[in-house]
């Protein structure tokens, strides 16, 4: 805290202040680098720009006219899930352990959420848009997907489940 009377051009930050600013900047850059590595090198990703649909007719045309699981072979699966007040179609999906499932989720009415418990899948579901994320199921068990966006009076009841079977074969 030097009380130098000279009029300053700069900020007049004292040495502690200057050090604090440098440490702050370094810290924030370190955070940024970490999420970058996690996102782009380790594939820990968020949903992006997938495709658009017409919410009024989406349930009538393929693939959404037949929501559910498609087996692509080699343990790869695709799941089309329709969300509507207040249920998911389908509300049960069964895959073998080790399966890699890409979820495509959209809505026929209002916004919903799609949070698959105990995984890194958590998506906003928006009418007119398709939300997409991929997950690998390494552990057998039941994984619930629950709606975590307010969608109306019955919202608290809206959920479904992925059943991951220990033995290969079920689908």
């Amino acid at each position: 805290m030097n009380d130098s009377p000279a009029a300053r051009k700069g900020l007049g930050a004292d040495p502690y202040e200057r050090r604090w600013m440098i440490v702050s900047l370094v810290l924030l850059i370190a955070f940024m680098v970490t999420v970058t590595i996690a996102g782009f090198a380790l594939g820990f990703q968020v949903p992006g720009d997938e495709s658009r649909v017409d919410p009024r007719t989406v349930a009538d045309s393929p693939p959404w006219s037949e929501p559910g699981l498609r087996d692509l072979g080699n343990g790869e699966y695709v799941a089309y899930v329709l969300s509507r007040q207040y249920l998911y179609d389908p509300n049960t999906i069964t895959v073998p352990v080790g399966a890699t499932v890409t979820f495509y989720v959209t809505s026929t009415d209002v916004q919903h959420g799609f949070k698959l418990q105990d995984t890194n899948v958590n998506m906003q579901v928006v009418p007119g848009e398709v939300s997409k994320l991929t997950v690998e199921f390494d552990e057998p068990g039941e994984y619930k997907y629950i709606c975590n966006e307010f969608c109306g009076i019955g919202h608290a009841a809206m959920f479904g489940r992925v059943i991951v079977e220990a033995e290969a074969g079920g689908s």
Binding site: M1, D3, R8, G10, L11, G12, A13, Y16, E17, W20, M21, S24, L27, L28, I29, F31, M32, V35, T36, A38, G39, F44, Q45, V46, P47, G48, D49, E50, R52, D54, R56, V110, Q111, G113, K115, Q117, D118, N120, V121, N122, M123, Q124, V126, P127, G128, E129, V130, S131, K132, I146, C147, N148, E149, F150, G152, I153, H155, A156, A157, F159
Partner: protein, 555 residues
């Protein structure tokens, strides 16, 4: 040596009443809005009291949650802030408002808007929560009412600008007082930021609600909403910072550590609080990953002025404490005037905000956001920020501002301290439980008491949450009692007594602050350019591809 603001200017009786009217509406809103807080917490843990409210038409959890969000997050804050900033402008500049009528018009516009939005909410015709995401349907009166609240706040802001322009003419070459500059930056930021929600309502929601258009584009609506939604949190926070930087040092017996860094922090908030809105849409479809990433980086940028604030506020407090005889590396903290509820409210708010800030960096961290998006973590987080850093600081401001505008002494120091500590303890319990629940996957905006998927593992935390909620409720009731008994008591300050308007002097003469930290134009241009770069391309893309094919649907 140090420039003195004209603190001797006597605020007129009309202006005191005008500010008081803001506080009145704000506190009424808080007391009604907060009624639902504990009910929500209890419902989550399986104690459903909404049946009791059925006879008065409030039996719907979501109607209650809409009221809670709108009244607490939008009305309590906006009215308190406009009132507080009005007195900051008047006292800071030491002159009356240039066009008092204009500010009166702004205030009454806000009141009319509030009534207009409240009626459909109470009738159950706007059960869309305070985010009103399309295509959830609300009555046109709700959208128009909210618009009027925002427009009213703009008008009050124009009144501030005219007053400032007049002051500048009379005081060429003088640095503007810090609190005034900070208040004006807050308003400028707000006026740029609210363009998003204004466009959303006027081009999408209102026409659809009136049946002029057939539907909405929900993702475009979200982009408009969050253009406003993130800076909204800085609109809440910056007035609290005005008090932390510009008043708390004086209240604690010290000085502002650095006038120029305080100004720099505010300018950085103006620059960076808007072009970060996609961090609320990290898990949205329809937004390319690249843009999400840009906003993630800028969000770390806006954390920088927050860290500056942490330093300057703590340094100012340490300076005050050492002047009061405080010693030791951390021992000085005890020397702060904890017995003064105005101070302790802000200190406790600051402590809760440090937890909130850490959580905020987590939320903002791009892919880490996947873990917490729309879980109980999020309300856990913003009860630390808007409902603590901001609300508890505003409690602290109320303890001197209500006496200041009414001429009546605080009823009482002891009860006010009780409010602060109750809120602090209740919030520690409540928000900790909600953060844990969020990590375990519990969704927000969900009456978990009736959800079929709640695992046993959550129940202990749900119970803690309702205990915290009950304690908070005691705190808010005590606050309303303190405010009401102070304002409506018979006794007045005796001659020569009263509250002084707190303005912290800076350790350095503000006249030494570089001129570029006291000029609006370059910063506003910079803000517009940065917003255009960060939002322009994606907005053009979304507007170009807009499909208004999502009809409104009642919740």
């Amino acid at each position: 040596m140090v420039l003195r603001e004209r603190t001797d200017y006597e605020v007129t009786r009309e202006d005191r009443r005008f500010v008081g009217a803001h506080l009145f509406v704000a506190i009424v809103a808080l007391s009604v809005g907060s009624l639902f807080g504990p009910l929500q917490a209890f419902e989550w843990s399986g104690l459903d009291l909404y049946g009791l409210l059925e006879p008065i038409g409030l039996g719907d959890y979501y109607k209650g949650l809409t009221i809670h969000g709108v009244l607490n997050a939008l009305v309590w804050t906006t009215f308190f802030i406009t009132g507080f900033l009005t007195i900051v402008i008047i006292k800071g500049l030491g002159r009356p408002l240039r066009y008092p009528k204009l500010n009166r018009i702004g205030f009454w516009t806000m009141v009319i808007g509030l009534v207009m939005a409240a009626i459909p909410i109470l009738m159950g015709a706007a059960t869309v929560l305070y985010t009103f995401y399309p295509p959830l349907e609300a009555s046109w009166a709700f959208y128009l009412g909210l618009t009027l609240v925002v427009v009213g706040s703009w008008i009050e802001g124009y009144g501030f600008y005219f007053t400032m322009a007049e002051w500048r003419k009379d005081n060429p070459g003088t640095r503007s007082p810090f609190i005034v500059l900070a208040a004006l930056i807050t308003m400028v930021m707000w006026q740029i930021a609210t363009l998003g929600v204004a466009v959303e309502i006027l081009t999408m929601l209102l026409p659809a609600a009136l049946g002029i258009t057939a539907g909405t584009d929900p993702e475009l609506g979200r982009t408009f909403f969050w253009f406003t939604g993130h800076p909204l949190v800085y609109f809440w926070l910056l007035p609290a910072y005005v008090s932390w930087y510009g008043m708390l040092p004086a209240q604690a017996g010290g000085k502002l550590f650095s006038d120029s860094l305080a100004r720099l922090a505010f300018w950085l908030f103006l620059l960076l609080s808007i072009p970060v809105g996609f961090h609320h849409q990290f898990v949205d479809p329809g937004i390319p990953i690249g843009w999400k990433y840009v906003h993630a980086a800028l969000t770390y940028g806006v954390a920088f002025p927050s860290l500056l604030t942490l330093f300057t506020v703590v340094a100012s407090l340490e300076y005050a404490a050492r002047k009061r005889g405080g010693k030791g590396l951390l021992g000085w903290i005890r020397a702060l005037p904890w017995g003064n509820p105005v101070v302790s409210a802000q200190l406790l708010a600051g402590i809760l905000f440090m937890f909130g800030g850490i959580g905020g960096i987590t939320n903002a961290s791009y892919n880490v956001n996947l873990v917490v998006h729309n879980t109980a973590w999020i309300p856990g987080h913003f009860h630390l920020t808007v409902a603590s850093a901001v609300t508890l600081s505003f409690f602290g401001v109320s303890y001197w501002l209500i006496p200041y505008v009414t001429g009546k002494p605080l009823w009482t120091t002891r009860w006010a301290s009780f409010v602060n500590w109750t809120w602090f303890i209740g919030m520690l319990i409540f928000s900790n439980a909600m953060h844990v629940l969020g990590l375990l996957g519990a969704p927000r905006r969900t009456p978990l008491g009736e959800a079929p998927y709640v695992p046993e593992e959550w129940s202990g935390h749900l119970f803690r949450m309702s205990v915290g909620g009950a304690i908070l409720f005691v705190g808010v009731v005590a606050f309303v009692v303190v405010a009401a008994r102070t304002a409506f008591q018979k006794s007045r300050f005796a001659e020569g007594e009263g509250v002084e308007f707190p303005i912290a002097e800076s350790i350095h003469d503000p006249q030494d602050t570089p001129e570029w930290l006291d000029r609006f134009k370059p910063w506003i241009i910079g803000t517009i350019v940065l917003v255009a770069l960060a939002y322009g391309p994606q907005l053009i893309e979304q507007i170009g591809n807009a499909a208004y094919n999502s009809p409104l649907i009642s919740p």
